[in-house]
Subunit: 313 residues, 2 copies
Amino acid sequence: MMNIGIDVMGGDYAPDAVIEGSVDSLGHISQDETLVLIGDEPTILRKLEDMKAASSMFRIVHTSEVIEMADHPAKAFSQKKDSSIAVGYTMLKNGQLDGFCSAGNTGAMLVGASYTVNVIPGVFRPALATLLPCVDGRDSVILDVGLNPDCKPDVLLQYGILGSLYAKFVLKIDNPTIGLLNIGKEETKGTPSVKAAYELMKEHPGLNFIGNIEGHDMFNENVPDVVVCDGFVGNIVLKEAEAIYFLFKKRNLSDPFFDRLNYESIGGTPIVGINANVVIGHGISKRTAIMNMILQTRDVVRANLAQKIIEAI
Amino acid sequence: MMNIGIDVMGGDYAPDAVIEGSVDSLGHISQDETLVLIGDEPTILRKLEDMKAASSMFRIVHTSEVIEMADHPAKAFSQKKDSSIAVGYTMLKNGQLDGFCSAGNTGAMLVGASYTVNVIPGVFRPALATLLPCVDGRDSVILDVGLNPDCKPDVLLQYGILGSLYAKFVLKIDNPTIGLLNIGKEETKGTPSVKAAYELMKEHPGLNFIGNIEGHDMFNENVPDVVVCDGFVGNIVLKEAEAIYFLFKKRNLSDPFFDRLNYESIGGTPIVGINANVVIGHGISKRTAIMNMILQTRDVVRANLAQKIIEAI
């Protein structure tokens, strides 16, 4: 039995969009997977009734408090003990959940990750790992996309290892290729930290390191299965792709590849390097994005990514 | 009289594409502007004859050596004294040229910038400033896009000033807006260097600083006239846009905005902060890109950007 916890109260369109996305997910999960809706029970039951969805298809855990999007993360997390985020993390810690996802207050989700389930011993810094579509049909993992704006070389090396585990166990890629995002192919290019990371990655046994890749390699056949960068660069690369997708839609263009830049089809961003399977969704997630966040959490849970990292690090 | 020097021997498609682009430029420049073709004279004359273009429309300066794309920049620049790049810089220094452009060996162009015409006193680090299209029809200046991967806060502040002068004098924008590319709107976001740069920019008199912008602000109405970032981030942002344009064309899509992402329509990247007007073109420049590189050099020369920076710094 797998229990996947969902923060019903988190996100700009919560709780409606979260419940809708949860109902949509039912058709994609297997018999031994249970969706655990965490939030205000009367609201959940009313919405399910409106949707003519049987509440017996879910497990519902009532919570009485809500961490709002604008709340101060650490304060809200410690003070609102009966919020959906705090309860979700407690259930994760106690083994009542195998994974947890939320499109709510990202800061509070990160606080919960650090203070409740903790960083895996040996992991220097957890990262946010997301997927970027590639024109050849693959998805590539890019990390970090926002947790650590300034990364030391050993942290970048470890991101290569963490990303590699993600690609291997969640995306089922044998011997995934790893590249370092840089401003030139030559190993002498880049900041001192990136240059040193190149040396470390080149010499690390078992890492399928292909060297530096550049911005123009993104999205095409040259992009490796895992792209390593600091959280400053990764965040900007990801959001630039969002800007492109937004303009693409605004200008009424349509194309199967560019449509894959839609964050809604990606769903969420796992926090890799903590002692639990946690996925963070985009605050603006609507019904489809929520469904994909839940299914991505399911994939991470099926792979048991956190445990794989514990065993490897 | 304005003399614009063109490195005929530089670029993947040199000398043919450079001569073709030079001929195409003639229809766009004014009577008092002279294009000075620097390269192998017999080759230039033969090509002009093939094109049925009058050689009298140009000034031709013969050079006997070529700095190849793969040459070691500093070595080639000091050893090949009669190369088109070395001669171009000498002419710039002696006042025989008002501007110089090349799609050739970028490293050699940068060596020439530092050793022949020199950095403007008071400028910490020169930058490469390029234009990114905005969906509302504007172009925004982004700098640095590759010279300085690691920037201290005072360098980022100065990039704001240099970019502002570029926007004001070359793009003719009154009181241009300046933004700092970051991973969040709040002033507490980003690396220590970017956070400190925010403070410096906020307090700098006369700088129309609008605060942080994010990756998803790129290309849309929110993007300021000048985007400041270090050369690592700027290079990746620029090349990601190139990747997008390349895929857009490969997938046979067409749209007036996305077509503006074509590097060919931008032409080149001025080196700002040196004692001369120098523009570097993309190595893969063909005929149209070369023409736009020349016309952009003409715009920089007309604005006399280098002199404006000398007066302002």
